[in-house]
Amino acid sequence: MDFHWSDPKLWQIIGPVVVVQLILMVAALTALIKAEHTRGPKWVWAIVIVVVNIIGPVAFFLFGRRMDG
């Protein structure tokens, strides 16, 4: 079990993790663009979603949108 960053086996294992994280990020960004009202400025949410792994998109989905808008 000795891995280098170019090792294909490593990417076979963590590839799906990266893909799921990307889907989550893209979904959150799409929801952000579509949302009419957000709590706080949209560009801040965009940074949070892209920079903060997993928790960023989740925080946006939970707290970012106003349901009445």
């Binding site: 079990m1 000795d2 891995f3 294992i13 963590i14 799906p16 993790v17 799921v20 994280q21 889907i23 989550l24 979904a27 959150a28 929801a31 997993i54 998109p57 989740v58 989905f61 939970l62 949108r65 349901m67 009445d68």
Partner: protein, 257 residues
């Protein structure tokens, strides 16, 4: 139970519009995969972190498949419960705030159908997310770590499904009782965190408590047996039914702000 079918359609749409059908299962899948993957890479991670003298030999006993799955379920018990409670903390109160609740309840829809449709949507989301995440975790565990006892793994997950359901049901109940969504989420999470803590302090006296579910699931996965669980399961089921009934009463007594 007038209007249940129509209300179910509405709740389904609500889950889709709020993206819950996508992001909740995805987060469960990520939580599930990370457990086996991080254990698998633990030696490399420690190595990369440095600080060890040259030639130091770390031998970490590779955990069994059951241990990894128990760890995954523990994550669901904490972060999964948090997500479920936070997603449904405004289920009823928000509809009161925005006035949709009043609009719906003047139509031929009974309060029972109103609450039950929300509960069914929540239960479906919990079941689907847990199943998807656990399947992903199970797959990775078998590939990277080792075999898993199928029966115990299924039973262990079923206990956590019940745990998430009772937390979600109580979030729904508190959202019908209280105006503030944050207070509803806090009450639901606080109740069950306290219950789990009390049960771990007094395991004998509280053997029937829903707070025993997480520990029982762990025992099942690690030791293969957890004693008689029927009292716990029965009391948990009663808690779920009780939460729904209280929510129905609250909606009937107080349909709008």
């Amino acid at each position: 139970m007038r209007g249940l079918a129509a209300m179910l359609g509405k709740e389904w749409l609500e889950l889709a519009r709020s993206w819950k059908w996508l992001w909740v299962p995805l987060v469960f899948i990520l939580l599930g995969i990370m457990q086996p993957v991080s254990y698998y890479f633990l030696p490399q991670l420690l190595d990369a972190a440095g600080n060890l003298p040259e030639g130091a030999v770390i031998s970490i006993p590779l955990p069994s498949g059951g241990e990894i799955l128990a760890g995954t379920l523990e994550q669901y018990g904490i972060f999964g419960a948090l997500i479920i409670a936070l997603s449904f903390m405004g289920a009823v109160s928000q509809e009161r705030n925005t006035g949709t609740g009043a609009l719906i309840l003047v139509k031929p829809v009974s309060p029972a159908a109103f609450v039950l449709s929300k509960w069914l949507a929540m239960a479906a989301l919990v079941a689907a997310s847990l199943a998807a995440g656990y399947a992903a975790s199970w797959y990775y565990t078998v590939v990277l770590i080792g075999p898993v006892a199928v029966g115990n793994a299924m039973a262990g997950a079923a206990l956590y499904a019940l745990w998430l359901l009772v937390v979600g049901s109580s979030a729904l109940m508190f959202s019908a009782l209280w105006k503030s969504p944050a207070a509803a989420a806090f009450s639901a999470l606080g109740t069950f965190a306290a219950l789990a803590l009390l049960t771990s302090l007094f395991p004998r006296q509280l053997a029937w408590s829903p707070g025993r579910l997480p520990a029982a699931s762990r025992e099942l996965l690690l030791e293969g047996a957890a004693g008689s669980l029927w009292p716990t399961v029965a009391v948990t089921a009663l808690c779920v039914i009780g939460s729904v009934l209280i929510a129905v009463r609250a909606v009937r007594a107080h349909p709008a702000d």
